[in-house]
Amino acid sequence: MPKLNTLTLKKTLDLLDQKAITLDELYQDVLESIKTQNPQLNMYLEIDETALVKAKEQAATSPLKGVPIAVKDNFCTVGFNMTASSNVLRNFAPQFESTTTERLKAAGGVVIGKTNLDAWAHGSSTETSDFGPTLNPRNPEHLPGGSSGGSAAAVAADACIAAIGSETAGSIRQPAAWCGVVGLKPTYGRVSRYGVAAMASSTDSPGPIGKTVEDCCILLNAIAGPDTKDGTCNPESAPDFTQFLNQDLTGLKIGVIYHDLPNMEETNARLLKELEVFKKLGATVELADAMDPKYAIGVYTVVQRAEVSSNLARYDGVRYGNDRSTFGAEAKRRIMLGTYTLSKGYADKYYELAQKVRTLFLEDYARLFKKYDVLISPVSPGFAKKRGATEGQSMFGELEDMLVEASSVCGLPGASVPYYHDPATNLYLGMNIMAPMWREDLVIKIADAFEKNTQWNQWRNAA
């Protein structure tokens, strides 16, 4: 039997069911893995070493049966601090539970620890955390991506069984790609944002990061669904996402976008080669032209910063948190730029204009989805960047996330699955699989088929 922390969520649940393993053994291996690796990789900001006690209380609760889940530290979790990786919330103890973690618990899951992120989720590297960077477990000279870098790294390092992250413009898919794991960004409105430190209210999407597509589906089942506490949450029940696994792809039409962008020829060449497998599975694969993603950078930059300036106004250092001088440089920049784009004389020039260009992207996707069932592109222009890459780069994240920003601001669901592994560096490339709003079924179908018909997922064949 391999170390139990290396098991997938599905396998863990099966073995617990069969009583082939105990929660004691599982927690021993997971905690050991965390303790050995966390000092170097800084994936976790806080760990619950007594989680086994809670796990045993949950042992009979389906479907998660007490399994340890890592949660990004921008979710309110009673009993843990919630820092959003910012000095403003250092030592902040939430007095209420986020819907996501409440549902995780109701499904039998146990929060083993809170993971590191770029402060306030403002970033795509986890290098701009106020509590030190997280390193990429595949190659610690490199970054794990962000902002859910701690969660993605914890999965990649087998320092958890599965994890929860959140995405506003790439923050689930990009770190999943950089860490060589699976990230599933649900449709905006599929998972409640109640109790998540608000960033861009019109695009924030909590979601799972896991070892396999199936693991992500199991986790998404636990957290998705209507919530009257979040006015932007879909009042319709979510489907059982696991039913979309193991599907026949015959007749599905795949459109490949961003295939001719500069400075990513190798990334795209590798992707096109891997997409051949879909043809063998009965789908068609065609190159397609989408609206220039560079405009999505502008849309995201303005919309996100405007909404951030409003959302972060609540941190007054009086009712909770430290005063506003403790914001890091990036947070200050974003709040101020957002304020500027909403201020008198500038709001139509910037904010309204950005919202209009968002409409153009929505129209562009509508046009593409008339022709194709799903769209695929690389998640990132290249591999995970080296440590120090973000220094002095005030637009680092936005430029890195260019390929995923458009689908995020339009609320589309998307998944990142590994499609290439470089043996020299041990780093991965991930593909972004996008579908229309509320069509996670298509995303899962395609992502699952790719994972099961190729060798890029390290856990795919694990015992």
């Binding site: 950078i297 914001f327 920049r333 101020m336």
Partner: protein, 104 residues
Amino acid sequence: MAKTTVTPAQVQHIGRLATIPLRETELQNFSHAFEETLVVVDELREPDVSHVEPTSQVTGFTNVWREDIAKPDQTFSQAAALKNAAKSHAGYFMVPGVLTAKDT
């Protein structure tokens, strides 16, 4: 297209609007960072938006209501509300002074 400038004086003004305390040394840095960011943002002027309306919400949901009743599970006790306060006194949050002696 001319590059948009943001002067240190403008940065100071924005800092006041956003209630972000700023040191003199930060004004120049932020001025430069904003100008860099606005180069990217100014590209939004290129596409033709004459035929579209702004989209602020992609779900299309409107008028999402709830019952106008107090919910115990979404209500703090006074103790919980004060738990993370920097300073409190007799069950109140203490706020930085606004009125000073000479204003009276």
